[in-house]
């Protein structure tokens, strides 16, 4: 049973299609309730985006397909949350 609730991805993408377009495309996917895309670095031809998707049943393959179809490349998966609840990162003494 697929129970991924949240994914945070580091993506390198061209300026076009815009993040508005990409956010809409991702939010249209089944199992996704919300999408947040923020740009943290802009280059001449490309930009680095932090993509957060949240839902009840996220299918990573579908998310990846949409990102790739829009010219993006996933550099890393920075956070993955699965289960019946959404558990945030817990601070430890080492932090």
């Amino acid at each position: 049973m697929n129970n991924i609730r949240r994914l945070v991805l580091d993506v390198l993408k061209p300026h076009e299609p815009s993040i508005i377009d990409l956010a809409q495309k991702l939010s249209n996917l089944e199992g996704i309730d919300g999408v947040n895309i923020s740009i943290y670095e802009i280059d001449r031809k490309v930009e680095n985006a932090k993509i957060t998707v949240q839902g009840k049943n996220i299918m990573y393959d579908e998310v990846l397909k949409v990102i790739q179809d829009n010219g993006g490349a996933v550099h890393s998966i920075d956070e993955a949350v699965a289960g019946t609840i959404i558990l945030d990162d817990v601070r430890t003494l080492q932090d």
Partner: protein, 200 residues
């Protein structure tokens, strides 16, 4: 209906990515202008040489329009394809991925096709419209009436193109229209005098 709507939405998406509309607009005006001026050349030359057969003017004009259409189609397609491939390659170097089968790659291919179509059809159709009176020359009677009407249509088309540019640049539409008509009048004047002089 749903299919058409989907296609239109897809085209709009491609337009946003590849900026097809802006480039097609430039090509349209540039090549329609070329088409009208070329046909003005054909008409003025025929007039100066006293060609009184409508079929001769039509076949010369049509052959010229077709050649311009094919030239536009071929030239724009390969130019766009080369330029867009270069852009895509450059983008691929940045993302380090193959973008040919993505929306960007598809938009790039559609752009080449649409721009070539506009580039080919603009001179062909604008020239054809200017030639229209010659198709009705039997009903019009005097062949010279066809010449005047054709030149009138050509100048009107030039005015229309100028007005369109005026609208694009958000400036005086009349002034832009007249600027374009100026090119047509210059072409008619020079063509007539040089053609007449050549013909003795």
């Amino acid at each position: 209906m749903g299919f058409l709507k989907r296609r239109l939405r897809q085209f709009k998406e491609y337009d946003d990515i590849a900026e097809i509309g802006d480039i097609a607009r430039r090509y349209f005006v540039m090549n329609a202008f070329d088409g009208v001026l070329t046909i003005i050349g054909v008409l003025t030359g025929s007039y100066a040489a006293h060609v009184e057969s409508a079929s001769v003017v039509i076949s010369t004009g049509l052959a010229t329009s077709i050649a311009m259409g094919i030239s536009g189609l071929w030239g724009a397609y390969f130019t766009e394809a080369a330029e867009r491939k270069r852009d895509l390659d450059e983008l691929e170097n940045h993302t380090l991925t193959d973008l040919s089968e993505t929306r960007i790659g598809r938009a790039s291919r559609v752009a080449g096709f649409v721009v070539a179509l506009v580039d080919g059809l603009a001179p062909f159709l604008s020239a054809l419209i200017a030639l229209l009176p010659f198709f009705f020359s039997v009903s019009l009677g005097d062949i010279y009436l066809s010449y005047y009407l054709s030149l009138g249509i050509a100048l009107l088309s030039l005015f229309g193109l100028g007005a369109f540019l005026g609208k694009v640049s958000r400036e005086n539409i009349m002034l832009w229209g007249l600027k374009m008509v100026g090119a047509g009048l210059l072409s008619i004047g020079l063509g007539y005098f040089l053609g007449g002089w050549e013909g003795g």
